[in-house]
Amino acid sequence: MDWFTKFPAMDTDRLTALKKAIDLGFRDFTRAYGDVFETILYPVQWFMFRVEQLLTTSPWPLVILAFAVIAWLASRSWKITIGVVITLLLIGYFDMWQDTMKTVAMTVVATIMAIILGIPIGILMGRSNRVQAVLNPILDVMQTMPSFVYLIPVVMLLGIGRVPGLIAVMVYAIPPIIRLTNLGIRLVDKDVLEAADAFGSSNWQRLKNVQMPLALPTIMAGVNQTIMMALAMVVVASMIGVQGLGLPVLKAIANQYFTLGIFNGLAIVGIAIIFDRTSQAYGKRLQKHLEVVHG
């Protein structure tokens, strides 16, 4: 009755051999292709570096002004714009400006990459049930996998630093944008699509004129979620050498520096709110024409 009380697991030697085989296989893969990936990712690295440099070396009043202008253009709301300025001033006053800018830079770049990759994938998924059937379980796994696990293969492949961190963040944050693009496309009114067909729209024209514009509010909700996830992951990614607000938090955990942890934590909350309110207000503004005015 031994098997009844203790799970009859695979025997230890064989299990070790299995893990070892996979690890060795992946290691060989990283040795063979690590350089290739680094070359491919060179433009990403350059872009990331530029954005970070721009945010950290520009005079702070200009940066705050730029943020205020973007917030205003996106939301057209004084409340949100003033909120953005005050949050940034407080962050600067408590001497977290540099770290915050690094975190913002990585969040922005990761979000842009997630959008560039995620929207086309979402469109494919929205147009084909087969693609949806294949991708859905993969997205499920991605969304439930603990975020730390993402760091392991990335580090093996690319080492530690900014770019591997960026990739981990991007991969972690991409599922919502894919899912909501897919959903948005699928929710487009069949009658309107039929009308577009009746006038002889090509596939590209129906995508450009009907599906994308009508899916846009849903896609914006996906962008908003992606930003929030990227921000959360930037902090986790400090474990593999990503600079920014995550690093002091890590230090605070190790050394039990309560105040340091709280301050940096609050700074993260601050920029999360900035991103969230601004992108949501923008999404709402896109839906203006859908408000029912008549009957």
């Binding site: 009658d191 309107v192 009308a195 009746a198 002889g200 004129n209 859908l290 005015v293 009957g295």
Partner: protein, 351 residues
């Protein structure tokens, strides 16, 4: 332009549509006489259309009428192949729509047809003007030309000043005008209208019917108009086809349908019709014997009008003339009156 005067005719031949996962395997059984109920209950497929044959002459208004679920929308969607048939031909001009490949079909839809939808189906994120140019935009015309055409039709359907409104800022009647303007701007020889006016209240509906009839005098398109309303059918239709459960039960001119309903189903429809407003003097006149007597009455005049004219001038007899004034036949007042009041069922009509 010459083409527009005569219009492009549409012939539907032996058209069948079966809905379901494997329609091809039942087509032979259906052609062999399997009923809609049997197909549905035993095989879980829906018989949408069965052996439809309709000849729609170019430049006229063909009305397709039937109750809800009779297959009207399914039928009209075969003309621009928004629905693929299970079997049969849809010949427009001299091309079979069913045989077109994807590119040909797209070109056909862009240049030969335009459609108005029951639920308007406007693009909610586009203004009235941007909706109206849609067909021309798809064709890739220069923007200026698109807007010129669009503005002309926006004015024509009475939406001046609303160019920059979004559809949800307009009432249902106004939205359907946008749908109409969008279709007309496309300047296609064929206009497909699927219950285009059914969602409108009666006054606006009459108004839109008038707009359509007035327009049709100028533009002479081949219009296929779907409705479930007999009054609308009689008002608009040059020819009417009546569908029931996916089959054509009768087709012909409106007078033929009112005077000789093919079965009980149709007579129950036409019983309530004001016959004086539908039947023309041509249907009741007798061949002329001897000299034409009384007053001249134009061919195509409806009985109500003829009766009023004859009683007003107090003549028992009149003669019918064509546009050039040639005499076609004679008309007696008692014939006119009895044709107006006789309630026809299909038995007495056949007798």
């Amino acid at each position: 332009m010459a083409e527009q005067v005569t219009g492009i005719g549409i012939q539907i031949r032996n058209l069948y549509k079966i809905f379901g996962s494997n329609p091809e395997s039942y087509i032979d059984a259906v052609k062999g006489g399997m009923s809609k109920t049997e197909l549905n209950e035993k095989h879980n497929h829906v018989l949408g259309l069965k052996d439809i044959n309709i000849d729609m002459p170019g430049g006229g208004i063909q009305v397709v009428m039937g109750l809800s679920g009779s297959g009207k929308s399914t039928l009209i969607r075969h003309i621009n192949r928004l629905i693929d048939p299970t079997a049969g031909e849809v010949i427009v001009g001299d091309e079979d729509v069913v045989k077109m490949n994807e590119t040909e079909l797209r070109e056909f839809r862009r240049h030969k047809t335009a459609m108005v939808f029951q639920k308007f189906a406007l693009l909610p994120h586009r203004t009235v003007l941007e909706n109206t140019v849609y067909g021309l935009e798809i064709q890739g015309l220069p923007r200026e030309e698109q807007e010129k055409q669009a503005r002309r039709w926006i004015t024509r359907v009475g939406l001046d000043g609303f160019e920059d409104n979004y559809p949800n800022q307009l009432s249902g009647g106004m939205q359907q005008r946008v749908g109409l303007a969008r279709a007309l701007t496309n300047d296609a020889p064929i206009l497909l209208m699927d219950e285009a006016f059914s969602a409108l209240d009666p006054l606006i509906r009459m108004d839109m019917q008038t707009v359509l009839l007035d327009l049709q005098k100028e533009i002479r398109k081949t219009v296929v108009f779907i409705t479930h309303d007999l009054d609308e059918a009689l008002r608009l239709g040059d020819r009417i086809a009546i569908l029931r459960d996916g089959e054509v039960v009768q087709q012909g001119t409106k007078q033929e349908i009112v005077l000789r309903p093919a079965d009980e189903y149709i007579s129950s429809f036409v019983r309530e019709v004001n016959r004086g407003r539908v039947i023309s003097v041509d249907m009741v006149m007798a061949p002329l014997t001897g000299e034409p007597k009384g007053m001249p009455i134009k061919s195509g005049t409806v009985l109500e009008v003829a009766a009023k004219k004859m009683t007003d001038s107090n003549v028992p007899e009149a003669h019918v003339t064509d546009a050039s004034g040639a005499v076609l036949g004679k008309l007696a007042i008692n014939e006119v009156i009895s044709a107006m009041v006789t309630p026809v069922d299909h038995d007495s009509a056949a007798a």
